[in-house]
């Protein structure tokens, strides 16, 4: 899966939880889920669960604690797919 494909899948996953739609329009690798998209911190766990379902991977605590930005999330997904 290319980075672009990953990014577009991630975008679909986070969209329902985004409160700042402007941030979604300008989505980049550096986008921060809380600061830029205003995703509620209790919904970050939904993002993690949706990522697990979509990519059929398991996200442990160590990986989950990094998943606050697009870049970190893509790195976690790439890593988990690689060791699958």
């Amino acid at each position: 899966m290319t980075k672009e494909e990953l990014l577009s899948k991630l975008k679909i996953i986070i969209t329902p939880y985004v409160q700042n739609q402007e941030g979604l329009k300008n989505l980049t690798e550096n986008t921060d889920f809380i600061k830029d998209l205003e995703i509620n911190s209790a919904n970050l766990v939904d993002v993690v669960l949706d990522v697990e379902d979509e990519f059929d991977i398991e996200i442990d605590n160590e990986a989950m604690e990094k998943m606050l930005t697009v870049k970190a999330s893509i790195e976690v997904i790439e890593h988990k797919l690689a060791v699958k």
Partner: protein, 181 residues
């Protein structure tokens, strides 16, 4: 050090499905899960523990200047209100109403002032006024700005001050807490 967190219960019901498969397991320790499922009102226990964890996260992050991290499961709540993280113990107190759940966390026996608002817009000017009263200065020279880690910092006359504060918003509710010297 001090931290706070408020949960608007009506919003939490539309925003989150805590019964979703895996949700509770990602956030809560085995012991916390036990307390949740044994509770008379599991939903209330979920959000009580959640607000305790969030309030302690803020106090702990401010105390050590940690960068943001999503590690709710590392915060170990007890039924008595203590929360353990990285060998530190915080005391929390929680107010539960039909509308919201509000927790305050502190690292020491610090005294504090806190206020809850049901209109977010009113909070900011009142918080500035409160700080001004505590330090006997004019509120026009008090500003609050988030630092690089997203922690709100008080500035008096443009100079950063070491005043512990915490701010929380959720849905219809917001609240501040200020540590008193």
């Amino acid at each position: 050090m001090i931290g706070n967190d408020i949960v608007d219960l009506a919003l939490s019901r539309t925003e989150s499905n805590w019964k979703r498969k895996g949700w509770v397991q990602k956030i809560f320790t085995a012991i916390e899960q036990h307390y949740i499922f044994e509770a008379d009102h599991p939903e209330i226990q979920v959000w009580k523990f959640w607000s305790m964890k969030e309030a302690v996260y803020k106090a702990h992050q401010r105390r050590f200047g940690h960068p943001p991290k999503y590690n709710p499961k590392d915060f170990n709540c007890t039924l008595g209100g203590e929360v353990m993280i990285d060998k530190c113990v915080y005391k929390t107190s929680t107010i539960i109403t039909e509308k919201y759940i509000y927790s305050i966390a502190k690292a020491s026996n610090i005294e504090y002032d806190t206020q809850i608002f049901d209109e977010t817009l009113r909070m900011h000017p009142l918080l500035l006024q409160k700080i001004a009263e505590n330090y006997k200065i004019d509120s026009s020279i008090v500003t609050i700005k988030k630092d690089g880690n997203g922690i709100p910092m008080v500035r008096i006359d443009q100079k950063a001050e070491d005043i512990p504060i915490s701010i929380t918003h959720h849905g219809q509710y917001s609240a501040f807490v200020i540590g008193l010297e």
